[in-house]
Symmetry: C2
């Protein structure tokens, strides 16, 4: 619970703690539209000593990292670190599967569409669908080059064509944090891309060690290092893996080695700390980040409850095999529904200088808005301050 | 001139120096098919102290590097280093142009096709052409997603449709090192992508400060750091630049920050050394690498002259505004033509365990083969040893 201020007295939460003072002028815009994972930055500041990487002029010059590997541009130690983090967290099965590295999971999304589309296209491109609300970038990313191999076909819930399709299953879902399974009921042949960017313990209980045909992960949301542009796919079928790698070769001749060195180091330090191989000065990464997410969600829910403008769905609760406790999900985004009479949530919040992403971008009604829960502390606190002023007149 | 050995006596060049002893067994394959720029690696080994980069855990985490810049994912210091190297070398005009960063120039090639294609496609996709022999990856890279926006239409020399087109001008050309200008004679509206990957002083005299609408460069061939996947486009039209950046956002949300930090350091060290800002222990980069290329070409030409199997075209000679001397080009690839009676140069060389790339991949006759001149010293010397044995029976 948060008690709003009157006039110039400071804002206080109901437990007496003050809402931190604003560092932004009131006419500046608080941007919580994007999903920049800056919430984890202070943690990594404390880890600077353990995680520093040093790269010399002569290192990592070749196009080829491992000529004996299908994924010739992936450093062997990068592959090992990916296998190890999944083994530590228990969120995905890697045994007998192939790892395909990408410039973030965005590039792997294209690689996966390429690899899953029929190589001899029929009259129609394969339909690509996702249950609404779906990740807002999927339609544009799918359509950018107007491929004859695949096309964006909208909401998976209403897909009823008797034609082959690819269903995107984002779980936990962006924007609403829901745990998802495929929804298409068509009898036609379907393939599934699991986008598991948020299937990490800080965001959601790890309920299963997933073992799907094609699963996408990204460093951006697992450790918060979005700038590194490191993503990876776990792929069962060697032909699919080969075609994804072919796409990666034609698209960018692989992935930055410097990012791979850094991502390897970050993942190794996390794994070492959980496997008690090295003591670290800070709290363990997933415990720390889950605590941060929980704290933000509690404050946020307090603010929204006070408002008579927006409602939130309840976050799922489940037993987490990783933390060995039952807990709520703390999604990277909050998904708000505007009250009756407010047609456009994004426009409504613009009046309070809060920049969000409206529901129509996610394939649903403009009543909905998505708000980032993983921005900087400064932005998040300012968001709370402004949301406290959001009251229907 | 090289004198071939008889039996087990060592191979010697005509000036008396020995061809280095082989480190490979005679039945292993020498791979000079790819263009991995490992020739520059020993130089950078000597520069390890000056060029080391250190990246801490907290650095470079955000999706955004510079929110005030069109190219939001490019570090300001990366941009400055790109402007500076072109200023030092004098190979391209950057003033009043936009810089778009890519994951190597491969990704920028796709970004450029996207940006130059009509946004409202007519009945036909725009034709993409390049004068044969053209870079062997262009057809596959153009066709990979079977776009409705553009299509590969082959040799620019024979293009005579009255339809809009995009001409790729690679200069110096890959595979044959020729200095190129557009060749399409069609009266239809044409746009040009200049692929200037090899327009650096070690490969060719810098004759002009080029100032075309869209020019592509890459770190892979300028400094030899292919593993970093850093390329950049210099673009005149802001709308084209914006569309390329839109493609980069949808394709991979930008470019690795770690690679940017490293590329910046490497380019800065080169610029500092030329601008006498810091003395370096080693020779200057472009002088050193031009000397290496020249030495290799002289040895290589000696070997080919002795053979009655292959011929080479003369490399162009011109005054270089950068080195202030008239000199030959020393292309990154040798482009060999087989003698009468040899139909397939690639197959012919396979018998000597030399792996090359045949002419058909470049849109011409199989009589031609491309050979990398920028492999490791070990591979290059082994290539010479084996070519000495190539004699028609």
């Amino acid at each position: 619970m948060v008690v709003a201020s009157n006039g110039s007295s400071p804002l206080v939460y109901s437990n007496g703690t003050k809402v931190p003072q604003s560092t932004l002028s009131s006419d500046s815009v608080v941007n919580v539209e994007k999903g920049d994972p800056m919430i984890f930055s202070p943690y990594w500041e404390k880890m600077n000593d353990e995680c520093t990487v040093v790269i010399k002029a002569q290192e990592l010059m070749s196009y080829v990292c491992d000529e004996n590997s299908l994924c010739f541009y992936m450093l062997p130690q990068m592959r090992d670190a990916i296998l190890r983090i999944h083994n530590v967290v228990g969120n995905a099965v890697t045994k007998d599967n192939y790892i395909v590295l990408g410039t973030g999971s965005s590039q792997l999304y294209h690689a996966a569409l390429y690899a899953l589309s029929p190589s001899q296209p029929p009259n129609h491109p394969i339909n690509v669908v996702a249950a609404a609300p779906y990740y807002s970038e999927y339609p544009d990313a799918t359509e950018v080059l107007q491929s004859r191999l695949f096309k964006w076909s909208g909401d998976a819930n209403t897909y009823n064509k008797n034609e082959p399709y690819i269903e995107l299953v984002t779980s936990p879902n962006n924007p609403d944090g829901a745990m998802r399974t495929p929804v298409v009921k068509s009898k036609a042949q379907g393939k599934i891309i699991y986008d598991l960017a948020y299937y990490w313990p800080q965001f959601t209980p790890i309920t299963h060690q997933l073992n799907h045909d094609l699963m996408l992960f990204t460093l951006s949301k697992s450790t918060g290092h979005a700038g590194s542009r490191i993503g990876w796919a776990i792929v069962k079928d060697i032909e699919v893996a080969k075609n994804m790698i072919k796409f990666m070769r034609l698209s960018s001749v692989g992935v930055s080695r410097e990012s791979q060195i850094r991502a390897t180091k970050l993942l190794e330090v996390i794994c070492d700390s959980y496997q008690n191989l090295k003591s670290i000065k800070s709290e363990l990464f997933f415990s720390h980040s889950k605590r941060l997410m929980k704290e933000r969600w509690e404050k946020f829910k307090g603010v929204i409850e006070q408002s008579n403008v927006f409602t939130l769905v309840k976050n799922p609760i489940a037993y987490c095999n990783f933390t060995k406790e039952t807990s709520e999900s703390y999604p990277a985004f909050a998904w708000l529904k505007s009250a009756e009479g407010i047609k456009d949530g994004e426009k409504y919040l613009e009046k309070f200088n809060i920049c969000t992403r409206g529901g129509e971008r996610f394939g649903v009604d403009a009543k909905y808005v998505r708000i980032s829960m993983i921005s900087t502390d400064g932005e998040f606190n300012e968001l709370l301050r402004r949301l406290l002023k959001v009251k229907r007149g």
